[in-house]
């Protein structure tokens, strides 16, 4: 009896989300038109979970017979997910309302997805990581296909589902090999078992297969094929969630499984992850150049950003992990901001996301235009916005780790990214709006999300050191 109480308290942030998810499910079952109460219950649940996360953050440990990490680094990841979810819900309220998409189901599925993200990124046992991955993935497949009468949404869901399940198979096969090599699925035990530098083939094969599964979820080249189609085809609110929460969960798991716990073995894979980082940076930033749809362009650029974060991952150090978490926080704020503006531009059919649709936005809607420019500057990495410091810390860690080659490529590709980000700004400020081009009206919740994101991007840019120290202290 005592154990179960301790475990429940230790994993309270996760329980808060699960209870909220089930509660919203029941509320929505009773009343079809209860989108609004469901939305408010979800906001309250996220708030409670955030408070519990901060409360448990100083007490790092494990719960449920070593299945789940609690407190410490797990709290940092959980907070990232909660920030991403909160901002996404704000944008979704207006964006899905406009498209007449089911907002209640969206909210419920997002909560379930978060309930998967937490064990995925903070599992202490590969089984818990796998189940977290699947809870997350199954929720996301459904979310991508949410607007089921739109063919693009169907198509994106099918592609995401088939490729996601395929990658999940590799991930699971990797777990099976590690289990065979170590006779356990507990990550800490596996790390302890292979503390020396002679690794059996079974162990190396298993780790490589895990790497494939994780690289797929992060959207790193060459496992990126799903990213552009899924991000473009999904409803914009869902894309926001995928690019923020989904990416954060994948990198949380990557850091937890690969660099924090399989620490000794991860040095063997540093070069492999480095090459993934290199390919992602080069491909993502170059493939974004010819894009005409802003969702698709941001999707390709997200592949590039995955590359920058992988530079931090491959250092396999506490500083690297802190740098990745900082980068994610910055990226979550910037992306929700940018996608908030995109969601405001869209019409009922989800059209209006071509870059030329943004012509003259700087005059017709100066505030939206200025905010989008701010987010794009942050994505490029121009000081004093958060994106600059995110890249700066990652590059700094990599140089200390002796990976100058990756940093050079990183800087070069950032310069390339100037081109396609600035092009959007040129269209916004130096091109006249087309004939009968509709002037978008951003909803109140979207404006709240966008302004909060902008404030976050500026605040992170003003006090980067404080935030980074805070994040690094829990790892």
């Amino acid at each position: 009896m005592h154990d179960i109480l301790n475990d429940t308290i230790a994993s309270a942030p996760l329980w808060a989300i699960v209870v909220t998810g089930v509660a919203t499910l029941l509320v929505h079952a009773w009343d079809e038109k209860s989108d609004k109460p469901v939305f408010w219950i979800a906001l309250a649940g996220i708030g409670v979970s955030a408070v519990l996360t901060i409360w448990r953050a100083p007490v790092a440990g494990t719960a449920y017979s070593g299945m789940l990490k609690t407190g410490g680094a797990a709290s940092a990841w959980t907070l990232l997910f909660l920030v991403a979810t909160l901002l996404t819900l704000f944008i979704a309220w207006d964006s899905l309302g406009k498209a007449a998409a089911p907002r209640g189901e969206f909210t419920i599925l997002v909560l379930f997805a978060v309930a998967g993200m937490i064990p995925f990124s903070a599992g202490n046992d590969l089984l818990a990581v796998f189940i977290g991955l699947e809870i997350l993935s199954v929720s996301l497949y459904t979310l991508v296909g949410l607007t089921r009468r739109r063919f693009a949404s169907n198509e994106a869901a099918l592609k995401y589902f088939l490729l996601g399940a395929f990658a999940g198979g590799f991930f699971l096969y990797g777990i099976a090999f590690l289990y065979g090599a170590a006779q356990t699925t507990n990550i800490e035990d596996i790390a302890r078992r292979f503390a020396q530098s002679n690794f059996p083939v079974l162990f190396l094969t298993g780790s490589a297969l895990l790497l494939v599964g994780l690289a797929f979820k992060t959207g790193a080249v060459p496992f990126h094929m799903w990213v552009p189609d899924v991000y473009q085809g999904a409803p914009t609110a869902v894309t926001t969630f995928l690019i923020t929460g989904g990416k954060a969960a994948a990198f949380g798991a990557f850091v937890t499984v690969f660099t924090m716990t399989l620490g000794h073995a991860s040095a063997r894979f540093a070069v492999v992850i480095g090459v993934l980082a290199l390919c992602s940076m080069v491909f993502g930033n170059i493939a974004a150049i010819p894009q005409t749809d802003i969702k698709r362009m941001l999707a390709y650029s997200s592949i590039g950003h995955a590359g920058y974060m992988l530079i931090g991952v491959q250092t396999a150090s506490v500083e690297g992990a802190g740098g990745v978490a900082f980068y994610l926080l910055s990226y979550i704020l910037t992306s929700t901001g940018a996608f908030g503006v995109v969601a405001a531009m869209e019409n009922e059919q989800g059209e209006g996301t071509r870059i030329e649709d943004f012509a003259g936005l700087g005059y017709t809607k100066p505030l939206l235009g200025a905010l989008l420019s701010l987010f794009l500057f942050s994505l490029i990495g121009i000081p004093p916005f958060s994106g600059f410091f995110a890249k700066y810390y990652i590059f700094l860690t990599a140089i200390e780790h002796g990976d100058l080659w990756l940093v050079l490529i990183g800087v070069a590709t950032s310069v390339v990214s100037l081109y396609f980000y600035l092009r959007v700004m040129v269209v916004m400020f130096f091109r006249q709006p087309g004939e009968n081009q509709p002037v978008p009206e951003a909803g109140a919740w979207t404006m709240i999300a966008v302004v909060l994101s902008a404030a976050g991007v500026i605040a992170l840019g003003l006090f980067p050191g404080t935030v980074l120290d805070l994040i690094t202290s829990v790892f």
């Binding site: 296909g145 063919f151 592609k159």
Partner: protein, 100 residues
């Protein structure tokens, strides 16, 4: 009793068959069946290790994999049905409004 290698080889063959199926077939349902074959090949690996290591944990993992596969099947079929209602096709070559 055959040695562990036989079981691992069999499951590797099954897994590879699944991978080849996913990469070569064009029917969404058959691709999904190939993925299920991959998962079951992994289950076989888990059971083989579990039996040869004398450790029950591997069999518990298989229970979870089965439950997960059922959940994936439910969502996957729902997606395929939604697609079919819009386009009357389950061929992934016909599904390319977005570029691959």
């Amino acid at each position: 009793m055959p040695s562990l290698t036989w079981y691992l080889t069999l499951s590797a063959v099954l897994f590879t068959t699944g991978v080849v199926g996913v990469l070569t077939r064009r029917n969404a349902l058959i691709i999904f069946m190939s993925i299920e074959l991959m998962l079951n090949a992994v289950n076989l690996t888990f059971i083989a290790f579990s039996a040869f290591l004398g450790d029950g944990r591997g069999q518990i993992v298989v229970f979870f994999v089965m439950a997960v596969a059922a959940a994936e099947a439910a969502v996957g079929l729902a997606i395929v049905i939604a697609l079919f209602r819009n386009r009357r096709t389950v061929d992934i070559n016909d599904v390319n409004v977005l570029k691959w």
